[in-house]
Amino acid sequence: MTKMDCEYVVDYLNGTFSEEEIREFENHLKNCADCQQIIELTGELPYLAEPIEPPAEMKTRILAKVFEEDVTEEQQLEPKPAAVPMAKRTPRRNWWTPLIAAVLLLSLLGNAYAFLQLSDQPETETAMREVNLQPSELFEGAAQVKLIREDEALDVVVSAEGLEELQGDEIYQVWLLKEGQPIPAGAFKPNPNGEGAAYFSLEENTEGWDTIAITREPQAGNELPQGDIVLSSEL
C-alpha cells in the first residue's frame, strides 16, 4: 500500500493492518485533522454503553491470569538432573518472589471455571488447535489443550477435570516436548472439584512441538519431569 488516505481509517480501527501499514497510516494521521478526529472519537464512543458494575471477583481473576505467565517462569528454580537433555529455551525475567508465586497459584483455583468455559469456544479463523489428552493407565481424569497462534507467540491453554487430589507440595505440570525433549509449559493445582487450568505463552521457539504431557510433580519448579505422566497426547 503506497497511498494512505482517510479511506483507510476504518481498516486501521479494525486492526487488520500490518506493522508497515500501521506506520504508514500513522504518518498520514499526523497531518490529517479529519482522521485525528475520528481516532479521538473512539476514546469517547464506549461511553454510550450502559454502566455495568463489574463482578466483585473479576479483578482478582483477571490479574492472576495476567501475572500467571511470570509465576510459571519463577517456578523454574533449580533445574533437576534427569536423563533427558534440556530443551533450549529463551531466558525470561525472574522478578516474582516464590511467595507471591505460591499465592497466585492458589488464586488460580478460582480461574479454573473461567477457563473450562473458554474451552467451549469453537475453533474458527485464528490458528487454533484443540487436542484431547489421553489419561495414562490407572489415572482418571481428562484434559484438553488449546494451542493458539497469535502474532509471533504460541499460547497453550490447558483445562483439566476429574483430576486426582494432590498431596503436600505436589503440582500438575504441563510439558511441551519436541523429539523427546521437554520444556515446562505451565502448572496448576486443581480445585476441590478436581478441575484445573494452566496458561502458558511461548514467544520464541514456537514450532515443531510434537507432544504435550501433564505430569504429577513432587513440587513446583522442575525444569525437567520427575513425576509420572498422567495425561498426554501427540500434537
Partner: protein
Amino acid sequence: MEKSSDFTLYGRIQQKDKEALEQLYDRYEKILFSFLVKMTEDPDLAEEALQEVFIKIWRGKGEYNESKGKFTSWLFTMSRNVAIDLIRKRKKPTVPLEEVGELVNNESTVEEAAEWQEQKEQIETAVQELSGEQQKMIQLFYFKGYTHEKIASICDIPLGTVKSRIRLALKKLKKSLHGVQERGAIDD
C-alpha cells in the same frame, strides 16, 4: 493531566511494574467491562475479552505510543478488536437483527458516576443528531463489529460504499459531539 498519567502508567507497565498495571486496571475496569458487555452481550465473554486486553498490555503487544492518539482511543480500539475476535469465535447465535438498530438507550441508572453520565449524555445527544442510517452504521460497525459484507447486506447498500459511509458517520458524530460539548461549555 489524565493523558500524561495514563502514559506514565503505561511506561511503568512496560517495565513490568505490577502496581502500575493494577492502577490502570482499576481506572478502566468499569468502562471497559460495560463497553465489552455492550459489544458481546455476554458478561462471561466480556470478562474473557477484558482479560485478554490486560494480558496484551502486560506483554507489551501492540504497543502504544503517542502517534496513535489519546491513550483511551488506543485502549478502547484494542479492546474492541479483542471483543470482535471473541464474538466471531463464539458458538452462540448473534443478536436478532431487529434488536440491532437501537443505539441509544434512554433509560439511565440513577447512581452513575457524574463524569460518565455527562460524557454519555453528550455523546447520546450527538448520536441523535445523526441520520438513522448513520446511527445504524456506527452500531453495526463499531459496537457489533460486523464485517463490511454483513453491513452491506443488512443496510442493503453496495459493498464498495460501506467503508466511506462508516467513515462519514464517524466524522459526522465527532462533529456533532464537538458541537454538543461547546454548547455545554457555554451553558456552564
